[in-house]
Amino acid sequence: MTLQVVAFYLFASIVIASAVMVILARNPVHSVLWLILAFFNAAGLMVLLHAEFIAMLVVIVYVGAVAVLFLFVVMMLDIDFASLRAGFVKNFPLGIAVALVLLAELVLGIGAYRAGALNLGAAEGTAAPIPMTSNIESLGAVLYSEYLFLFEAAGIVLLVAMIGAIVLTHRDLRSPRAHQDIGKQVRRNPDEATIMTQPAVGKGVDL
């Protein structure tokens, strides 16, 4: 038991500390790296909850894919730190307002939690984890029976997002912009790609 407690406090404190550092770091690349550390330790917390499948998905999806793209974009930004700080005085009241709203929400949230959590009721089949089955099996059993329509709806949302991304980056092949015909490149052979000439001295080669 003690080992779990030590592990929990280790993971939890690193999550909070790195989340704070995401905001405090001056350099946006450092912010993203702190965010990645927070994700990774959140996955550690999931493992402690015996939700190892979710933990692995957090690492694969967020750390392995989403955060890499974040880092990719942030690294390419050419950020002028002086101009970032220029609007500090002008935006100060707005920042204070947003901070107050967030603080109020936090206080309300903790207050509501202290007053006893809302009983939202549980859907059928979600009661307790089924003993002696792995995480993945019980998750699949619920996802593909009880929540099939919600699962498919999530799939449709992803499909729409994917089509949107494809439409945004789509290039019409008939447009005059250069594009490569891979088949043509592969079919090329030395006979048609090279010519043997014996140009006279001082004369160029006609291509």
């Binding site: 996955a43 880092l71 690294m75 995480n135």
Partner: protein
């Protein structure tokens, strides 16, 4: 191993702790030795194909070449470029090296010889290998230099692209094995090929997936012909350009540990892991310990990797991207549908 330490009179927790540490050392130390030797093998194979002799001066047949290189690198001065982001510059090689070691925790070397026999073993490997990109990207950015930065950009795009198709290939294997547990996947291959061969690769539906996996593994570990992140003719040495001494050596060790891991995954997912190749009792090869078979298979795949490195010219970057997104992704998606359809139709799960 925990039972052994418990029998010495320790409490369960203390015994578990010592057993885990011992297990980690039992995997990590031979792995480091194996990496040193495999670098030598790589150079020898490469030299032999190029009709050269390769390392042959240090020790008998040049066997100690890697250790001599290691010693040389160890004694060199660590140079940190003044414009570099010092913290990240030093962390990046450590990340690469650590991540390369982490994934070995779930690799089964025998029926009982696994450090962590978790039921999401394959997902764990996928998760850890997706972390490998950070070492390269961070080092490229922290070096604050043009060539490493280009290399980091290439690495980020390349590794994500090929992880997608590797993910679908793993789904195909998991569909057939019915488990994410590495030992379960190995055991599912017992007599899988016509009742004789202990391998998934001789299954007509899984064979194309093995080919996709082998090529994606080359791209994922940035080995030739996909070594665009350190293409010496374009990028000097890629993300390693600004590194020297031990920080360079850590990249080197991590890279080869990753290559060995990919060879091991090839052996475990498609060639029966620690099982003997054939499921016939005529020869008593089930008596040979499992890790011997596993090591033989890893070595074979490493030879294939070196062979490819010595013979295939480097891809152009757009060709690499095209192969990943326009060929492997649709192909592996089709096979996920095909294999799950076949398994449902033949009543594999009932």
């Amino acid at each position: 191993m925990t039972e052994f330490f418990q029998s010495l009179g320790l409490t369960f927790e203390a015994a578990w702790f010592i057993a885990t540490i011992a297990g980690i050392l039992l995997i990590a130390l031979p792995l480091m030795l194996a990496v040193a030797m495999i670098i030598y093998v790589d150079r020898k194979v490469w030299a032999a194909i190029a009709l050269r002799r390769g390392p042959n001066v240090v020790g008998p047949f040049g066997l100690l070449q890697s250790f001599a290189d290691g010693l040389k690198v160890f004694l060199q001065e660590t140079i940190i470029p003044s414009a570099a982001n010092k913290g990240l510059f030093l962390i990046a090689p450590i990340v690469t090296f650590t991540v390369a070691l982490l994934a070995w925790a779930v690799i089964p070397f025998g029926p009982e010889a696994v450090l962590a026999d978790i039921n999401v073993g394959l997902l764990y490997v996928l998760a850890i290998s997706s972390l490998g990109v950070y070492g390269v990207v961070v080092s490229g950015w922290a070096s604050n230099s043009k060539y490493p930065f280009f290399s980091a950009m290439r690495a980020a795009a390349q590794m994500i692209s090929y992880e997608v198709s590797i993910g679908f290939v793993l789904v195909c294997v998991v569909l057939w094995a019915g488990t994410f547990n590495m030992n379960g996947i190995v055991l599912a291959q017992l007599g899988h090929g016509f009742g004789i061969v202990n391998a998934f690769a001789f299954n007509l539906l899984l064979f194309p997936m093995w080919v996709v996996f082998l090529i994606s593994a080359l791209a994922e570990t940035a080995r030739a012909p996909f070594d665009l992140t350190e293409a010496e003719s374009e990028l000097v040495a890629g993300y390693q350009t600004e590194y020297s001494s031990m920080s360079f050596a850590l990249f080197w060790l991590g890279e080869y540990a990753n290559v060995l891991l990919m060879c091991t995954l090839n052996a475990i997912l498609f060639f029966g892991g620690w099982l003997p190749p054939l499921n016939i009792d005529l020869i008593p090869w089930f008596d040979i310990p499992g890790f011997v078979w596993l090591f033989a298979k890893i070595f074979f795949f490493f030879f294939v990797f070196s062979w490819i490195k010595a013979t295939v010219p480097r891809f152009r970057y757009d060709q690499l991207m095209r192969l990943g997104w326009k060929v492997f992704l649709p192909l592996s998606l089709v096979f996920v549908v095909l294999i799950s359809g076949y398994l449902m139709a033949t009543g594999h799960y009932s």
